[in-house]
């Protein structure tokens, strides 16, 4: 993976030193909170309901074991022994003390990590396919490009005060696992008719209070023009984006208000100017970066014990069938570690679990770990012959839940248990749904089903693209949960449709149970997923299941 050069190292250290001084001045009273707030946000430090929260960037979701161990150390030394992995592949600490934060940032810098631009109206942490460099359907590893974008966007002098935050995702595979169509810019690697590799550039996607599916701004962009083109997009947005109303400030609204064609014209015109300034250094840099992402030295050995264990051990078979994905190298597998044991907080890992995962990555996984936007941890390169050993170690650390992609693999934002913006809680709803379906023992029978929960309209829990989305709201001082159906965050991105009136905190879990068991009766066969059944049948039969009393009232 990418190693900091002298410039990166000096830059990150300098920012830590600056922030240390800013914290000292805040504590001694020379800075007011109004003065300090933008400074702390630039360093990823929020003030939440019960404490500060430090959001640490995990660039494109990639970690090495040393970094994961340091995250565990930080959790033990300055927090409460755990961390929360987020839908933007970051990690959040929920309990830091203000005067400890500079030391936490210093500890991050020791392992080439930071919390820069994880907040504020800047270009945020660049996210990528969590199976990057490993998946069988990949055209190219998206991480070198993501790293190039990260270097370009970090402290970019023109883009530190954008109209609003700006998120970029990169995918290098046929299947979109990076939700590129719900980002301000989505970069998808494609081939043109001549067989040349390049990018499809998607713009103006986003969730939040006005969800939009991104639109194709450029169907094929030659590889070497990516940075100049992205700079043109952000530059046009920086001038055109609205600053009068924060709810209308994201680029999705800029595209919507001005139209895609106008955006295309403006971006292409700006691009013609900007590209002259790019004389090829970025491509030299990209080459160096690519060297840092060379594939691991795969080994070739027997996978016989995998097949034998699969046949002999039903629990292992269930885990292997659910949590393993196809790898591009022969004999290898991608392991998704669920950090969503039934009843646990989605995305939380204890320091002990972090160390176990780091050890496994080192011993069996070519020293690579990934954080997925679905709030799980990935070991991208594990030989099939080592899967049983990995499973056994995961099981001892309570990390072997076989539920990837199933009803209990729920995305949930922190919600009102932590977040100052939230309008309702999301974590307890996720915990109750997972616990309930575990009791019913039907989640493997249900099959692929993505439930995503947000505790407010800002949609950090991606509820709009959940097959079942749940949005927690405050209705006259009471928590209320709205259900959306039919959302999809893949290459066929769709915004879910609201099913009807919301449910109380007590009624939402039974409603979800009714909906899912009702689907089992509606599906054509066991292979038809919830989303496929919804697409075939439309909203009505699902609505009738959700609101049975209303049905009767209408009939009467």
């Amino acid at each position: 993976m990418y190693k900091y050069n002298d410039f990166d190292e000096a830059f990150v250290r300098e920012r830590v030193a600056q922030f240390r001084g800013q914290v000292e001045r805040r504590i001694d009273g020379s800075l007011t909170e109004d003065e300090f707030k933008p400074l702390r946000l630039m360093n990823g430090l929020y003030l939440q309901l019960h404490a500060y929260m430090l959001r640490v960037a995990v660039p494109y979701g990639t970690l090495n074991p040393t970094q994961m161990r340091q995250l565990a150390y930080i959790a033990d030394r300055w927090d409460k022994g755990y961390g929360h992995f987020t839908t933007r592949q970051n990690i959040q600490y929920n309990w830091p003390k203000l005067d400890d934060v500079p030391d936490m940032l210093e500890a991050l810098a020791d392992v080439e990590m930071h919390a820069l631009q994880t907040s504020g109206n800047t270009i945020r942490n660049v996210t990528a396919d969590h199976f990057a460099g490993a998946s069988a359907d990949e055209i190219e590893d998206p991480r070198p490009v993501a790293e190039l974008l990260r270097q370009w966007s970090t402290d970019h002098p023109e883009f530190q005060f954008l109209p609003r935050k700006f998120k970029i995702a990169v995918s290098g595979a046929k299947h979109d696992r990076a939700v590129t169509k719900a980002h301000d810019i989505g970069v998808r690697m494609v081939h043109n008719d001549a067989g040349e590799a390049g990018y499809e550039i998607i713009v103006g996607g986003g969730l939040g209070r006005t969800p939009m599916v991104g639109k194709v701004l450029r169907a094929f962009l030659p590889r070497e023009e990516l940075l100049a083109y992205c700079e043109a997009i952000v530059s046009v947005y920086n001038l055109l984006g609205r600053r009068d109303n924060k709810y209308k400030a994201r680029i999705k609204i800029t595209v919507h208000e001005n139209g895609l064609e106008t955006m295309q014209e403006l971006v292409e015109a700006r691009f013609e100017d900007i590209r002259k300034g790019f004389t090829g250094y970025d491509q030299e840099l990209l080459k160096q970066i690519e060297g840092a992402f060379a594939p691991p030295a795969y080994v070739s050995k027997s996978s016989a014990n995998f097949e034998a264990a699969r046949l002999a051990n039903p629990a292992f078979r269930s885990w292997a069938d659910t949590n393993i994905s196809a790898h591009k190298a022969p004999g290898y597998a991608i392991v998704s570690i669920s950090i969503k044991k039934h009843g646990q907080t989605p995305g939380d890992a204890t320091s002990h679990q972090m160390r176990v995962m780091a050890d496994l990555a080192e011993k069996y996984g070519h020293s690579e770990l990934r954080i997925s936007h679905e709030q799980n941890v990935i070991l991208p390169h594990v030989h099939q012959g080592d899967l049983l050993a990995v499973y056994t170690a995961l099981r001892e650390a309570d990390l072997a839940t076989a539920n990837i992609g199933l009803v209990s693999d729920i995305i949930a934002c922190p919600g009102m248990d932590y977040c100052a913006l939230a309008t309702a809680r999301s974590i307890p709803i996720a915990q109750e749904i997972a616990t309930r379906f575990d009791e019913l023992k039907i989640e493997h029978e249900i099959g692929e089903l993505k439930i995503k929960i947000s505790g407010c309209i800002n949609a950090c829990g991606h509820h709009h693209v959940g097959h079942i989305g749940i949005l927690g709201l405050d209705r006259a001082g009471v928590e209320n949960y709205q259900i959306t159906l039919g959302g999809d965050g893949t290459e066929t991105t769709t915004i879910g449709t609201r099913a009807g009136p919301g449910f109380s905190a007590d009624d939402i879990v039974p409603a979800i149970e009714r909906l899912v068991t009702g689907y089992l009766d509606l599906r054509e066969n066991a292979d038809e997923t919830f989303l496929q059944a919804y697409r075939r049948l439309g909203m009505e039969p699902f609505k009738a299941i959700l609101y049975p009393a209303e049905d009767k009232a209408n009939a009467a």
């Binding site: 003030l47 309901l49 019960h50 404490a51 929920n94 307890p428």
Partner: protein, 99 residues
């Protein structure tokens, strides 16, 4: 017609620890809402908020929150403010175990 004034407490986050605190009648910041000054007069609320906000080296983000009088002192009326008196629901962390 302006909306009728409802009783308030002044709350904020402590500067270093970041936890929820409430402004008392004797100008302290208490971790317990029950010790907060119960404010029933709008003009007094505005003045007290200014005084609270001036204490920049102790707290961040002071604001007026709706409250009611309970048997042991002021209580929160909205669930958000109630959560701030306790801590999160997924772990035994925060005030529910610290106080």
């Amino acid at each position: 017609m302006p909306r009728a004034f409802t009783p308030k407490v002044i709350t904020a986050n402590a500067l270093i620890a970041g936890d929820a605190v409430w402004f008392t009648a004797d100008n302290r910041w208490s971790p317990k809402i029950s010790e907060a000054e119960f404010i029933t007069d709008e003009a007094h609320a505005d003045l007290r908020l200014l005084e609270a906000q001036a204490r920049q080296d102790e707290i961040a983000g002071a604001y007026l929150a709706d409250a009611k009088q309970g048997p042991h002192g002021p209580e929160a009326t909205h669930f958000r403010e109630e959560f701030r008196t306790r801590g999160p629901s997924n772990y035994a962390h925060g005030k529910q175990v610290e106080l």
